[in-house]
Amino acid sequence: MSSELIQRLPVLSVEEALLAQEALWRLLRRQARLYALESSSLPVETAAALAKSICLTLGVDRDPRVLLSADLDQQLCLGQRRLTQKVELSKQLWRTACLTLPEIGNRSLTDTLRSIGGFWNRYDVHFFAQEVPCDMDYQLSQPVSETLQGVDYVNDWLRRLCLEQDFLRRFDPSSARAVVARSCPDYRRLLINLFEPVAVNALGLALQGEDPRILSVSPSLRRKLETQFAPLTEAESNAALSAGAESLCAGLGIQNQQATRYLNGLALGLRPRLRAALDAGTLEYVFLEFPVSSEIR
């Protein structure tokens, strides 16, 4: 049993907590026997991982009372079925992610997608549902919550990636590549996020009522942004950035609520960076300019 669970059990009465422990022990013993058919004992770490998997499958984190259910075995089967369905969903999300891969090469992105491609063959719904048996090195603009585990983590990661890639596909590939290259010349090999520099530039343009598809932020426009944000308080900056994200979505025809929330999150996350850059005297390294006619690698 994980220590987190022990901390959650106090929502039960003492008597209920004992019954819950007993029920978990019974399930754990059964799972341990299934896992190691010819061994009556297991390393504590393995047993703890099995217990964690049971708790995740049953949703004990959300509701510890599930352990008091009379049909716990059936609950576990249902939980495993739910996880299996989520694995199917992860396959669909992965296919979408592969099909919408941006035309901006990045090794960590392709390596990560390749590794996720083997996830469902290695993922163990029955014994280690909390594990993520693949390498996910590519950095998302807004990372997945560490509270998510197993297939839930992978699916949320893929959902976010699909949102980012759908956004990138709305721009001319050479312009998007130019912004990314301006942000990080070695963008193909380094562990960087491709979405963020493009989204930030597009936001800058939207904030000034320009067409976000242009992507390049000219020095004159950048100075307008500096003038706009320099006097604003924290709350005013947040309001302006949120409004900018809204304009950006409208300008690009983005109606999907998840995407609008994601862009709003990006905009609000930009505020500390804006403040620091303004304090340093320029937004030159936040909103990037690139020569439109330049040859793009």
């Binding site: 422990q21 754990l28 010819e38 061994s39 009556s40 004992s41 297991l42 504590v44």
Partner: protein, 149 residues
């Protein structure tokens, strides 16, 4: 560790009962555990599990060890309880060292072969046997056969 704290009582009960049952067989070889010794062994099992970082899901391994080792010519009745206690610690250590790749029955069978064979009834020799030996015990038998020639 939370797992140990929560599940300790259940392990204690089952082990003591199982040990009492093994007496029926070991008695034939003059090896008998008193209820107090059985209780002490059950407690020492908990220590052994803690020391080796393992959790028991059955009744423990003592009964199987008792049944397998009770006909060893190297074990004296007065040492029976202490020998069993040491054997179970060695067993759990070997489970870890062999990375659980051997089932309980297989490992006990090979421990017995080693103890009654090259180890000459020495628990120290059994304990210091390289883990690899337990995967290929036949290699030693081959060497012994060559020695006999």
């Amino acid at each position: 560790m939370d797992l140990e704290r929560i599940f300790l009582p259940a392990q204690l009960t089952v082990t003591a009962e199982e040990l009492a049952q093994s007496n029926r067989v070991s008695r034939k070889f003059g090896l008998v555990l008193s209820p107090a010794q059985a209780d002490t062994l059950a407690r020492r099992q908990v220590e052994a599990l803690r020391e080796t970082g393992r959790i028991e899901f059955g009744g423990g391994i003592l009964k199987k060890l008792a049944l397998e080792f009770c006909d060893s010519p190297f074990i004296q009745p007065e040492d029976w309880a202490d020998t069993l206690a040491q054997l179970q610690t060695i067993f759990y250590e070997l489970k870890n060292e062999t990375k659980d790749r051997l089932g309980d029955d297989d490992l006990i069978f090979r421990m017995t072969a080693r103890f009654n064979g090259a180890a000459g009834g020495s628990l120290d020799a059994l304990e210091s046997t390289p883990p690899e030996w337990f995967f290929h015990p036949e290699a030693e038998r081959g060497c012994e056969a060559e020695d006999e020639l």
